[in-house]
């Protein structure tokens, strides 16, 4: 990471997602919550698929979860990333899922239902995004 001169691809920011990345920059793993029916949803969307309300706020997730699926990326190698790269689909304790990177774990040690916890990654250019690691 430190030797990498090229940074990772950044999300395009718009009205429907910028608030989430702003929370990540503050160290918060946010989950969008409908103010109509209180259901949680991720990735964020401007309307609740349960009750069609456009009113929402968010909660700060506990960061605890389990591995629902994963893959280890070898090829092609994009600048700004370190390979092999472990991608995980995490089922958070709150019930929503998030796609992220698993750190602090060898590729052959990843397993289904493995307990993981969020750790905020800060890149050299200051960009922050949530990673996960095996629960300590």
């Amino acid at each position: 990471m430190s030797e990498s001169l090229v940074s990772r691809i950044k999300p395009v920011l718009g009205l429907d997602n910028k608030w989430w990345w702003d929370q990540a920059a503050e160290g918060v793993l946010a989950i969008q919550r409908c103010q109509g029916c209180q259901s949680l949803r991720h990735p964020p969307r401007p309307m609740c698929d349960q009750c069609q309300s456009q009113e929402w706020d968010f909660i700060s997730a506990s960061g605890k979860g389990t591995v629902c699926s994963f893959t280890v990326l070898h090829h092609p190698k994009f600048p700004g990333y370190d390979y092999p790269l472990i991608i995980v689909l995490v089922e958070l304790a709150e019930g929503t899922r998030i796609t992220s990177q698993l750190t602090g774990c060898e590729p052959d040690e990843v397993d289904f239902d493995m307990p993981v916890e969020m750790v905020m990654q800060r890149d050299a250019d200051g960009f922050q995004l949530p990673y996960f690691r095996p629960s300590q």
Binding site: R8, I9, K10, P11, V12, L13, G14, D16, N17, H42, P43, D49, C68, S69, F70, T71, V72, L73, H74, H75, P76, F78, Y81, L85, I87, L89, T96, R97, T99, S100, Q101, P107, F112, F127, L129
Partner: protein, 391 residues
Amino acid sequence: MTINVSGEAAIAGVANTEFSKNSGVSELELASVAVRDAIADAGLKPSDVDGMTTFTLDNTDEIEIARAVGIGDLTFYSRVPHGGGAATGLVHQAVMAVATGMAEVVVCYRALNGRSGHRYSSGVAGPLLTSDAIHWGWYTPYGLMTPASWVAMYTQRYMHLAENVQDAMFEIAHVQRQYAAKNPAAFFYQRPFDRADYDASRPIVSPFKMLDCCMETDGGSAVVVTTAERAKDLKHPAVIVKGVAQAAAADMESMTSFYRPEIARIPSMDIAAKMAYEQSGLCADDIDAAVIYDAFTPIVLWQLESWGFCDLLEAPKFVLDGALRSDGRLPTNTHGGQLSEAYIHGVNGVVEATRLVRGQSVNQPAKEVNNVLVTSGVGVPTGGALLGRSD
């Protein structure tokens, strides 16, 4: 009033261009060649054509091809989104057009310099602020940005639930390369391989090896759809569209539907299968051969389950019993598929399915082939068609 399109339309002509790694010609030229040759294969003239369909992804305008080929007045043109998910969607649009009289002869086409031009393995990124760009932004910052990596997330989950998945993936790769080894148009012509080659092939994303992945291609394919009535008097026996359907199941993202209760299956294809079977009055037992979209080996497994050839999580057993082989229950991807003929986003598959019904596949099974399934790409909104001989 409900119209059942079953039997209303037929595929009368098909064509592929040469497949290559570097065509040396424009995408307009590839498309024009495929369209011209499909019209000729039908025994029609360019001026007979009054409709055209293609992918939203396709770079070449309908009217540019029409001018190049000498097609006259168009009264129907339509595009289908979501990459390979559009493959049988082109036929779906054409069938609806001819069944309702909006057009009489529709050419469906797809042409791309997919190897020498933009490569789909090069990832997704871009500055445009659209709902789709925001969607990709949940994945690309983590490095999850190629079709192989998205499909791998479903595959690992499927491997967790089903047995012998990697062996079945090898069987799919192996059977299709054996077909391709006998297909002079295929990249893998005269290039068979064995399990040792497969095991030694380069890891791409777990659990995919290079030989689990399709082949980026320069080339084009086209299919002519017309009314069943008109198709009766053309060059080849009519290949009737008995059922055709498009579907995007609830809670869908493009390639990353990771939020459904169970991700190791393809609910969009379940819906398309149900619709196409209902239209046609056919069931899985009636299908003699198949062309199943195969950008990567495991996606064939889930589609076999969607179309009812086996129960959920039983596709590896079905495949390992030899079902996809020439003498098996369901000879599949007899052209070599996109794994080893060429990757024209499934439209070369519609060409092959038509040839199977005509009895013209380069690997035509010995048994009688009356009904053939062909499917679109999955992970995206998808679809499928049931083609067969006229009764």
